[in-house]
């Protein structure tokens, strides 16, 4: 037994309450999503059949099992609406992640090169918007991008355009919103990796004759790849399922999968189809989720 073990016994007791909570409110609900994704819509409360009920005894339970069918998934595959939604989500998420990386990396790099005492302040400045309401920040952009909004007023005043440009309800508005909302998630992991880099490494590279460009591409960038991975996953995964930003800023011509799910659930009241959309979305995200989990775990082991 070691000192760590002496501590680990009571620490394991600490796990009980959060463990039970997460199993009950995070893991078990997925079972319900899976089950209802195999059910049929009904005009009832709740709006699906079959309804499992223990009161009906074993025979009603087995009847209910027999009534489950993969019809919803057939629908998802056959209807273009769903496939294009998934595709659009993944394309939007990939594009946004790339833009975020392009914008976030120089900022994180600049922060990492600040003197120590300024770094903390810079980090606070990046985190604060993350604390202020997500919805409000999207709404702020609606203010700016609308037909007679600030952006068009400025453009008109500067005579850069002669008539107001349509910004709102376009993909560019959506990308602005996504980049704006997720920028801190990209910057922070990058910054964390870049500050941990020894300045001596860059100095050594310079000493050995590398130009600033070579130093960056041969030393700094390769060593910051774990941060690039973490930041990209931290942005990519939630963007795929994003609802608020495309709903408020993008047009309604093509929907992202989060919007489709929302539409099926709230407007069409089709809970089974909404559930099957969620199941497929989860499957799509499984690989990046596992990658992310591995990264988190490795980071935890390293910092020990």
């Amino acid at each position: 037994m070691s000192a760590r073990r002496i501590f680990s016994r009571p620490a394991r007791f600490a796990a009980i309450a959060p463990y039970v909570w997460m199993v009950l409110f995070f893991l078990v609900p997925f079972a319900f999503v899976a089950k209802i994704s195999l059910s049929q819509t009904a005009i009832a409360q709740p709006p699906y059949t079959p309804v499992f009920s223990l009161a009906g005894g074993w025979s009603s339970l087995s009847d209910a099992f027999a009534a489950l069918s993969p019809d919803n998934f057939r629908l998802l595959l056959s209807d273009d609406l769903y496939l294009s939604s998934y595709l659009r989500s993944v394309v939007v998420a990939l594009t946004s992640t790339a833009i975020l990386l392009l914008i976030g990396y120089p900022i994180a790099y600049g922060m990492a090169r600040l003197p120590r005492r300024w770094q903390g302040i810079a980090m606070m400045l990046v985190i604060i918007p993350f604390w202020t309401s997500f919805l409000i920040r999207i709404y702020a952009w609606v203010n700016i991008l609308q037909h007679d909004g600030l952006l068009n007023q400025i453009l008109l005043a500067l005579h850069l355009v002669s008539t107001p440009v349509v910004w709102l309800s376009t993909d560019s508005a959506m990308y602005v919103g996504i980049v704006y909302s997720y920028l801190p998630f990209m910057i922070l992991p990058l910054f964390a990796t870049l500050t941990k880099l020894e300045p001596a490494l860059e100095e050594a590279a310079a000493d050995l004759g590398a130009s600033p460009r070579e130093i960056f591409w041969l030393v700094t960038f390769p060593l910051s790849l774990p941060g690039v991975g973490a930041g990209s996953l931290l942005c990519f995964i939630p963007i795929v399922g994003e609802f608020v930003i495309p709903d408020l800023l993008a047009g309604s011509k093509s929907l992202m999968i989060g919007q489709t799910l929302w539409l099926e659930f709230f407007t069409n009241k089709d809970w089974p189809v909404a559930s099957s959309i969620a199941v497929v979305l989860l499957v799509v995200l499984l690989l990046p989720l596992l990658l992310y989990d591995r990264l988190q775990r490795r980071q935890l082991e390293e910092s020990r």
Binding site: M1, S2, A3
Partner: protein, 388 residues
Amino acid sequence: MADDIATPEPAAEPTPSPEPRPDPQPPILRIENVVKTFGSFRAVDGVSLDIRAGEFFALLGPSGCGKTTLLRMLAGFETPDEGRILLSGEDIAQVLPHERPVNMMFQNYALFPHLNVRDNIAFGLRRAGMPRAEITTRVAEMVALVRLEGLEKRKPDQLSGGQKQRVALARSLARRPQVLLLDEPMAALDKKLRESTQFELMELQRRLGMTFIIVTHDQEEAMTVASRIGVMKAGKLEQVAVPRRLYEEPASRWVAQFVGDINLFEGEVTAREPHRLRVSTASAGELVAAQPVAPIDESKVAVAIRPEKIRLALRRPAGDAAAINCVEGIISDTSYLGGKTVYKIRLDGGAAIHAAQANTARLDADGYGLNQRVVAWFTPDDCVVLER
């Protein structure tokens, strides 16, 4: 030698150092055949050791030799896989740290940053349920002991390195532990401060009459503070002895080389005379050494001689001295170290030896120059014959 390292040194030996008398009482701490493995790595590999009450004992060894693991087992942070640890006759190997009458001073001090000096020192006393008035007295006593008066209200990060070290010492002494464990207590101090702190620590230990066990990788520190030293290598105790014997009668080639500088001549025993051994060496011809106390059984041995016990001259000494242990060579390197000068001499036999000469005169009267041909010799009594 390998077997008797566990038991206290026999006192009747004719050694120049003052061996402690055998203690009629049982030892305060007895370590019996303790083994600790981490995975497949045997960090501590069958160590047995007795420590007497009032002793200042040092565990000395290179990093990774298992000395810190052994200390942490005494504190209770690690539990031995095998063996027993008896404190005042009671097996404490499985006792949790907070239930042991043993305290530890941590290498980085581990002062609680949210508590001031006074509360840090009182921490252990409060846990022991000592009455408030008594705590106040004891803390004042401890503050005076380590000369921290006036700093009681300071937080650890408002203290200098030396002050932190003294708070850590006071905190671990406050509970009056039966044994105080010190894990590299001076590693974070600079050289000058370390030296004065070593003497303060010795003074304190003598005054309190407490049992101290210190872990260090610094042999000078071990020799300065400790009354007895256990040298560890790869999880095993190589030798346990008073500092002087450790230096003058190392038990093995490894100890001889780890503690101080030494010249080794590998060879074979050619003749065993009363009190003397003749050893034929490849690099220095025939050498004569005093017969060690423990008889030499092996024929392949090493003759070891400390650099400062080698005498140098430009010509062979006259008389008997020239007949034995006299080698010739060329000075290939000199290092002036202030109190002494160390010469590296390439012998005619091919080997290189170190010889140290005390610089007794201020003016460079007796120095030797580079490439100068010199004669080096030493007496049989200054040689040690090593089997292991």
